[in-house]
Amino acid sequence: MRTVRSLVPILLASIAALPSAAQVERPEQLTYPPLPEFDVPSPTRVELDNGMVVILLEDHELPLVDAVARIRTGSRLEPADRVGLASLTGSVMRTGGTESMSGDEIDDFLENRAASVETGIGTDAGTAAMSSLVQDLPEVLDVFADVLRHPVFAQDRIEVAKAQARTAIARQNDNPQGILFRELGQVIYGQDSPYARDATYATLAAIGREDMLAWHERFYHPENVILGLVGDFDTDAMVALVREVFGDWQRGTEAPEAAATWREQPAPGVYFVDKSDVTQSNIALGHLGIRRDAPDYYAVQVLNELFSGGFASRLVSVVRTRKGLAYAVSGSVGSDWDHPGITQLWMSTKVETTGAGIEALREEARRLTTEPPTEEEVAKAKQRILSSFVFNSDSTREILGQQLTYEYYGYPLDWLDRYAAGIRGVSVEEVRRAAAERIHPDDLSIVVVGPEEGMDRPLSDFGPVTAVDVSIPPPPAAPLEVTEASLAAGSERMTAVLDAMGGAEAVAAVDTVVQRGVLSAQTPQGPMQATVESLVAYPDRFRQTMVLPFGTLITVVDGESGFRSGPGGTEELSGEALEDSRKARGRNLFVLLRRYLDGDVRAVATGEGDVVLQGGNDGVRLSPEAGTGLPGTLTYQGNDFAGTPGEVRISFSDWREDAGLLLPFAASATFEGEPLWDLAVDEMEVGAELPAGAFDRPAE
């Protein structure tokens, strides 16, 4: 029975206008007119003399023009000790400015026009995109070309991108699904495969501006670029404009290398990541998938559709709807354009049904061969893919994007048409063969991220269990390079530190410092509290008095000698003890700063934004506090209370103003990362007259 609907031929429309039964019983009884004739807009392809391919598609609906480009590059081409280079280059290419405009100028220029230019580099391609109102097009296209051709990678914007990348590393274990897919990739492709590895603090720290310039020089040439344009323009006029901004771009010398490697052998077994702050287990089963140019690709797509394409598919119907085990569940034979994808099944389920979840996924993988796809399943899956096919071409931006993809990976430009024909031609037999050949239940690696406690079954039921350590390797201590540049940068940073405290002049005026407070320490004998007083007279006199439950300890360093006195008497300092105390005197924050001002120590900038103050056979790393620029921490090789050598880090806080200076009223120290002591200062005097005889030995 037919009723009124859009797009019916005129004849039927007039019939339907008569009073008629209003509707049908079941949706299958509805009949539909043919889809209206639709000429899929077809792009124009032009190749410039310098090898750049330009694909253009007019769309006059709105006064907008968009560009997208693919560049032959990718993070899979990075050296292993510079992982993160491609991603940083892709980001700073845009933010770091060009030879003619700073990053800030570009930001202002574009955003004032509601335009955008963005760049990035992924695993196997670089991208660049532009969007502009048609009225601003020539100027915005200029900026777009400038960013691609002449980026300068300004150092300050590199630091911003690195801080963002470090933030991502610090947070990489916060999201359980992030861990799941990262570890799945590492298990399947292998830890060192360029398709699986991730940046670390160490690889980020190793990346410099010169690496980015070299990367750009190596890959960003016209013959490596495919540029797509879509929007409100005339194709010939646009080609002329593109020639104007890209025509004189010279070809490069080196073609990018071929793709990288991955592990061919499956790695079955259970890989478990213990994460205690979640209420679900995140489960993935996987092995290596296929490339899109595989001969059975179309059969695989039909298989994926009936396996997990929507609610009525096998996986969703069974695991979610019938068993109520999961909200999120999915699976497919994975494919990529020019390297194998990952075939995977994944879900998240409450901890108490972890075993049931793994079992359900494994059972569905097996059932693809024990209960092979039926004719009805195959027919429905094909129908689902084909009946929604028009949505592959319902926007000009989508059509252009597809053309770029085919061009980039070397697929025929009519691939979409071939795809439809390919799906239509798939037989039940082919789908069954794909199910048998492409999914290997016994080869599946099982990755589980979740709490160790509370599972319904031991994970060892599913194979040998490997505990995966996902702890984040700490940043390396960068080797210190003493160069003219690092010294210049060091002195620049020190000026900033001194300015933050009140200025070099005010610091240079500090001759004496008296501090009184309470020290809480973690000693081998347990926690201990002491009242402390320290006197400093620049340049070389220092006294520390500690009042402890068992008596008072005084340490004095005066010039080249020193002594220690306590309940047991007084002893001269000599040898290592004298050396340690002299070093300690030299590391006092104010002494250190005055020594720097007097040229007694030099400041060497490090790659991490710190300075190392070197002099008198000691080195102290000063890390300016982000934001305030104050000397936030001092780090050096020292001892704990038992005399064990190791890294000591002192962090200053509670800055208060006095005598035109900001002074820290609190400090806390760690030894090799463990708490060592905390100091709360009650009183601090700068420039005070010191009591006579303050550095004298006590009378016997």
Partner: protein, 508 residues
């Protein structure tokens, strides 16, 4: 594609976008010519936009009900109903509806009996076991008649894409796209699903929703923080409740509760559907009358009584969590229909819109204390008085305290100094271009139009908004910021890193 029509549309919008004059009544009239508003006798409002660029269309149905309509005991039920709307109809999804309906009733009776025992102060373990067994048996009996996911199956078999739904504090939305020749299928399926809701597989689906809560809220640090933040910022208004619901409610609300919720809130007068694409209004409307006209009018939704009282003390939520720091602060503000909403949009653009924004330049670019920073108004909802929030993700070298100070500095500047002419102009240019860009997406446009119709009772407010932003002045910004962004009106939320997850370089 009809090039003449597309050309006219483009010309209109060109004027509108380029700000040649203002987006005046002329421009609106031209867009209006392509947009038809049709209200059925039962109160269901339809908007139809003819955009014949490809033979497809999209729709969005917004029901004016969300978690704000829930009371203790049934939190999460608006979202649960959204899930049930995919379970089919008396025709779709069953092998024998008459028998199934009886089995569902029997299952509900068995569930009620079990639950009654379970909720007793001292439940009898033996009775519990027996009653649970009876329920499980009745559940299996009801499942015998289920044809799983047939609703979805029919639509995807006919080419539906992007089929999904959402629930927030204020609204429940349903949407997908179809080839243009399947308009009648849309009318059939979308009227049937609300004409006779079935509560098929209710208790199984309740398990799925519990998993959704574990996935999105319990196992995500930001999910954990936001739940606490909302619960703290609001003391009386239901915006304090999580949309997904509390676990205890997800383990105890019933089919009976869901039926009652449907009766109260799913009246056609509470629903708006926008259809955008290759459709013609004069062909669509008869279909709407035929299919959606069958739904009885139902009762008008009652307004919410509770109004959030003014905040008189600053509130702070510190979540100690084995994940990295996250900082957010929020201030109570008016609902989206307030005339000052464009002023808030200006504030957000100046503070956090892109790389020229003040928060980005200060916290991310210059001081490198945040990896990203943002602000937005209308959180967690829009219909009732709500919050403006600012947030930041500190870099490993920084802290919540530092980004807090950085955000406060910029808020102080907004309050103390008039915003520059270039910043304000940039906001207006971007707002106009943003609207223009949104017009090339059927699904997005359908959603936006339905939303404005739901909020204001008039979709044309979307375009009048362009006039309203033109009027925003630096004084407006200072006035609004000065009245709102004050300590006693503030709630602070932060994740403080504790425990095994402390993997920042500083933590090692």
């Amino acid at each position: 594609m009809n090039p003449r029509l597309a050309g006219r549309l483009a010309a209109t919008l060109l004027l509108l976008a380029l700000g040649v004059g203002r987006a005046g009544a002329q421009d609106l009239a031209a867009f209006e010519a392509r947009t038809t508003r049709h209200v059925l006798d039962n109160g269901w409002t339809f908007l139809i936009v003819e955009r014949p660029v490809a033979p497809v269309f999209s729709f969005a149905t917004l029901v004016d009900v969300g978690s704000a309509q829930e009371v203790p005991g049934i939190t999460g039920l608006a979202h649960m109903f959204e899930h049930m709307a995919f379970k089919g109809t008396p025709v779709v999804g069953t092998s024998d509806y008459e028998a199934e309906a009886a089995a569902i009733d029997a299952m509900e009776a068995a569930y009620q009996a079990w639950q009654e025992e379970r909720m007793k102060l001292e439940p009898d373990p033996e009775a519990l076991e027996r009653l649970e067994g009876a329920f499980r048996e009745a559940q299996q009996e009801a499942e015998r008649f289920v044809v799983p996911n047939e609703f979805d199956d029919i639509l995807s078999g006919e080419g539906a894409v992007g089929m999904n739904a959402f629930t927030n504090t204020d609204q429940t939305g349903y949407f997908y796209s179809l080839p243009a020749n399947k308009l009648e299928l849309f009318a059939y399926m979308e009227s049937e699903r609300f004409l006779h809701p079935v509560f098929r597989e209710f208790y199984k689906e309740r398990d799925v929703v519990q998993e959704e809560r574990r996935l999105r809220t319990e196992s995500q640090p930001v999910g954990r923080l936001i739940e606490q933040f909302q619960a703290t910022a609001f003391v009386a208004h239901p915006y304090k409740q999580p949309v997904v619901g509390y676990m205890s409610d997800l383990q105890s609300f019933t089919i009976t509760d869901a039926r009652e919720f449907y009766r109260r809130h799913y009246a056609p007068s509470n629903m708006v559907t926008a259809i955008v694409g290759d459709v013609k209004a004069d062909e669509v409307i008869p279909l709407l009358e035929t299919y959606f006209g069958r739904i009885p009018a139902g009762e008008e939704q009652k307004p919410l009584r509770t109004v959030e009282p003014p905040q008189i003390a600053e509130k702070i939520v510190r979540l100690e969590d084995p994940s990295q720091p996250v900082y957010v602060e929020g201030y109570h503000m008016a609902a989206v229909t307030d005339p000052d909403q464009p002023v808030w949009d200006a504030i957000d653009d100046v503070l956090s819109g892109g790389r020229t924004s003040r928060l980005y330049r200060s916290l991310v670019r210059d001081r490198r204390i945040a990896a990203s920073v943002g602000s937005f108004s209308q959180f967690p909802g829009s219909k009732y008085p709500t919050l403006w929030i600012a947030y930041a993700f500190p870099t490993p070298e920084s802290s919540n305290e530092e980004v807090q100070a950085g955000i406060r500095d910029e808020i102080a500047r907004i309050r103390e100094e008039p915003v520059g002419a270039e910043e304000l102009e940039r906001f207006k240019t971007r707002a106009k271009a943003g609207l223009l860009r949104s017009l090339r997406d059927n699904q997005g446009l359908a959603f936006t139009l339905a939303q404005y119709e739901t909020w204001f009772g008039d979709w044309r407010e979307l375009f009048r908004y362009l006039e309203r932003i033109e009027e925003v002045t630096p004084e407006d910004i200072q006035r609004v910021a000065d009245a709102t962004l004050i300590p006693t009106n503030r709630t602070v939320g932060m994740i403080v890193t504790e425990g095994p997850g402390d993997a920042s370089p500083e933590g090692r």
